[in-house]
């Protein structure tokens, strides 16, 4: 079956090869708060809200890029895994893809709705333990 919006089948394997290590390493980095100095960079940001400072729109901010790097790797590789063609991409699989996409959108908006209702002012949340 011809589809324009899927990657070739060979990218599926490449995606798994990237996804498994990058998600495990990424999780470990977040859990153990590993931030080596040589990954500290000044990066441009849309919105900056310092815990003990002013809010600022557009500017540079000092940040450790290691977790961003692994986050990007995880997202890109999971896209490859999900949107590469199956070995035999036929009409039944397109139907399954469509159905799961609908469920994924429901799930996503569910989480968005919960965050709308139950999460206020992230800054206060970070300040609370202090």
């Amino acid at each position: 079956m011809k589809t324009k919006y899927l990657f070739p089948n060979k990218y599926k394997k490449a995606g798994w090869f990237m996804l498994i290590p990058s998600s495990i390493i990424g999780l470990l980095i977040v859990i153990f708060d590993y931030e080596p100095n040589f990954f500290d960079f000044n990066v441009p940001a849309f919105f900056i809200d310092k815990i003990f400072g002013d809010k600022q729109i557009f500017g540079m901010v000092k940040n450790n890029l290691l977790n961003e790097l692994f986050g990007i790797l995880t997202i890109l590789s999971s896209l490859l895994v999900a949107f590469s063609k199956e070995k035999n991409e036929d009409e039944f699989i397109s139907k399954i893809r469509l159905e799961s996409l609908v469920w994924a959108v429901y799930f996503n908006y569910g989480i968005l709705l919960l965050s709308f209702i139950f999460i206020y002012d992230l800054c206060c949340l970070i300040c609370l333990p202090f």
Binding site: K87, N88, D90, F92
Partner: protein
Amino acid sequence: MKNSIKVERAKKNMTQAELAKLAGVSRQTINAMELGKYAPSTILALKLASIFEVEISQIFILEETDWE
């Protein structure tokens, strides 16, 4: 909709995998159709009729519930 893919396949002495290969779909698709979980596209239905060398209405049969 009912279908007699399994019967026609048995008449031709074919496995699901062989039929899948001829029709250019996966074995899972043949299985889902035989179990009535998936209604094929017109193109695939016509291909199956051509493979089994029968009329399409001999394989796929409408049921009362399809009109509801």
